[in-house]
């Protein structure tokens, strides 16, 4: 065999391998529906997986756990293996493999527990995307402070807004008995309505920017407490 022939054969093999992988990846892209067999609690699971600009994106729905359109993290598609985690919430991971019947089968894992899971493709992907941060008005940039009462104790709140090319960000700090730096998922401004949400901690602030004050309320679960923030000096 000449060197030229060997090179042609290698190229052909690579083309076939890439084509097969692409086909497998095409198979994996889509909406998958099935169940996770938790003892005494069979959970319905719906997963949407798609490729965008060469990267995998996805979201998940689990009706029994209040999970709807939550983003997937750490998506690793190496056919036939498909692994990913569910962002936030109870810490769910899925470790699946595409089987000969084109089903994704494996385990749903959470808190060290493991449930057999089987999913079947039911159609094209319907990936949900989380709401995005919006820019905030120039007059909102900087630090705002205010106090509220909870269980007879004063809580000091500080929110510091900054604009970035992909939307605004905020540092959200609540100081009571402890100094709590809350992880912020979402910052939006629509007209004069400003929201800062720490979904993970169950804390959010919503207020209107009027007369140089942010007048609104802090929400902690179902509890709503009035809060007025003024610009920090």
């Amino acid at each position: 065999m000449t060197a030229a022939r060997a090179l042609v054969r290698l190229v052909l093999i690579l083309i076939v391998a890439v084509a097969l992988t692409s086909r497998a990846e095409d198979v994996i892209s889509g909406r998958w529906e099935g169940t996770a067999q938790i003892p005494d609690n069979e959970l319905s699971v719906v997963i949407d997986l798609a490729q965008e600009n060469g990267a995998w994106v996805g979201s998940i729905i689990i009706p029994g756990l209040g999970i709807k359109g939550v983003s997937l993290n750490d998506i690793r598609v190496q056919p036939p293996d498909v692994n990913f985690a569910v962002k936030g919430g109870p810490g769910i991971e899925l470790k699946l493999r595409l089987d000969a019947n084109n089903k994704l089968a494996g385990n749903l894992e959470q808190a060290g527990n493991r449930a057999p899971t089987t999913l079947q493709k039911t159609g094209p992907p319907q990936v949900e995307y989380p709401p995005r941060n919006t820019p905030v008005a120039k007059e909102l940039e900087g630090e705002w402070k205010g106090d509220y009462e909870m269980l007879g104790n004063t809580r000091h709140v500080s929110i510091k807004f900054a604009n970035h090319p992909d939307g605004a960000a905020a540092d959200f700090v609540v100081v009571g008995r402890k100094h709590n730096v809350l992880p912020v998922d979402l910052v939006t401004q629509e007209s004069d309505l400003v929201t800062v949400d720490s979904h993970e901690m169950g804390f959010s602030f919503e207020g209107r920017l009027r007369d140089g004050k942010l007048t609104g309320a802090i929400h902690q679960g179902a509890i709503e407490t009035p809060l007025v923030l003024v610009r920090a000096k």
Binding site: P39, D40, N41, P90
Partner: protein
């Protein structure tokens, strides 16, 4: 002379043994609720001596009298079981669950039921001697309780698990009620002697010392009341929580030792109060975690545990200074029982723990079968409550259903009883266990 001395020793020994056995016939061992039990305690687990099945959860704590174990069941029955064999001697049905601990005095078993009645049964036969109708039972309730939605809806507290257990002395039986009263009845006839009104549910069990009853109410006050007259001697104000009603109320039952009252509170404190004046001696704050357990007091130390933070504590009885702090696996509502150098406590993940009194180190534990099966992933693989998985919604009945699921792993709310080296306790799996 030697013979005389040994005879005196034998007589004293018999008297002490009799006192110890008597001290196992009401909640927390005695009227002061010290939570201490005489006799040996196993530092190693050997076997399940027997387990007794009932029709529903067993939240009640067992008591012992004349080789018989008495306890209540959430199936509505009051049970008498042979302590040696685990065979049923009798059962008597009430019209509601019985998550209260009976008291057995002078051949009578006293206990309350969720049917709003208080009962006196013959200890030998179970025959009804008398029953007394209170103003009715109910659980603590509040709008927007624990942050549940809808926040303007009144919700009954799923963690208000126990009913008040009676204390019997001087011809009277004393107990609290969901109608907000502490009752004093004639123990022979069931006639009302007096009742003392508080502002909310009384499910804590009164302790009695020096002719004074000590108990807390869900109205956020802790009371000292004269046992003869029913007149208030003093009251102590615990924490308030008008927003979520989460950090309020005395669910823990007090222990009274050497002139000091020790009580846990839902405001996350363990309090030490002067029994004569009600003045606070010290408090031990538990970072917003409830103290539901009734403290045990032995050798100058207070033993207690917390709910959400799941911590087991031993503190100095005179100063409140921490001595031992051990991280448990999940909530503890069961009250610690101290026997010799071992302390026993039930955990809501369906485990009974035996710990060394000095170090708090785990000596052994026993997990009920239902807990091992972990249906619905109530527990993580290492035995903690899988809270993010269960409590994913605060809307409608979701938190209540989640709480019920937790109970189904066989949570041990019941406080252990130690008699002659055998540990008796109930589980939410529906069984009463005897371990040795």
């Amino acid at each position: 002379m030697r013979k005389k001395i040994s005879r005196i020793v034998v007589v004293l020994g018999t008297l002490c043994a009799a006192t110890a056995i008597d001290a196992q016939s009401m909640f927390r061992g005695d009227p002061m609720h010290s939570g201490t039990y005489a006799g040996p305690a196993p530092r190693q687990f050997h076997r399940v001596k027997w387990k007794f099945p009932t029709g529903d959860r067993v939240i009640s704590s067992p008591v012992f009298k004349d080789n018989v174990i008495y306890f209540g069941g959430d199936d509505g029955n009051v049970y008498a079981v042979n302590a040696a064999t685990g065979h049923q001697i009798w059962k008597r049905v009430t019209n509601g669950p019985v998550p209260a601990t009976p008291a057995v005095v002078n051949g009578t078993v006293y206990v309350g039921s969720y049917d709003g009645k208080f009962y006196a049964f013959d200890a030998q036969t179970g025959a009804l001697k008398w029953k007394f109708a209170t103003g009715g039972e109910r659980r603590f309730e509040a709008k927007g309780l624990h942050g549940m939605q809808p926040k303007d809806q009144t919700i009954a507290d799923p963690f208000d698990t126990f009913l008040s257990s009676p204390v019997v002395a001087n011809g009277a039986v004393y107990f609290g009620s969901g109608d907000g009263n502490l009752y004093a009845l004639d123990s022979a006839t069931g006639d009302l002697r007096w009742k003392f009104k508080t502002g909310d549910v009384v499910h804590a069990s009164p302790a009695l010392a020096e002719g004074v009853l000590f108990f807390g109410s869900w109205d956020s006050y802790f009371y000292a009341v004269d046992a003869t007259t029913g007149k208030e001697k003093w009251r102590f104000h615990g924490g308030e929580d008008p927003t979520m009603h989460n950090q309020v109320g005395f669910q823990s039952s007090p222990a009274v030792v050497n002139g000091t009252v020790y009580t846990g509170c839902r405001d996350a404190n363990l309090y030490a109060l002067d029994a004569a004046t009600g003045k606070e001696k010290w408090r031990f704050f538990n970072d917003l975690s409830w103290v539901i357990t009734s403290p045990a007091v032995a050798d100058g130390k207070v033993f207690f545990a917390t709910s959400d933070s799941s911590l087991y504590h031993v503190v100095d009885a005179s100063s409140g200074k921490p001595i031992v702090r051990q991280q448990g696996k999940t909530y503890m509502f069961s009250s610690p029982a101290v026997a010799g150098d071992v302390v026993f406590i039930g955990v809501l993940n369906g485990t009974l723990e035996a710990r060394d009194t000095k170090t708090g180190d785990l000596l052994w534990d026993f997990q009920v079968e239902k807990s091992k099966k972990n249906k619905g992933w109530v527990l993580t693989s290492d035995g903690k409550f899988n809270a993010p998985f269960l409590f994913h919604s605060n809307w409608r009945e979701a938190p209540l259903v989640a709480t019920d699921q937790q109970i189904l792993v066989g949570g041990i709310y019941s406080s252990p009883l130690v008699v002659n080296g055998v540990i008796y306790f109930g589980s939410a799996d529906g069984f009463l266990y005897a371990l040795e």
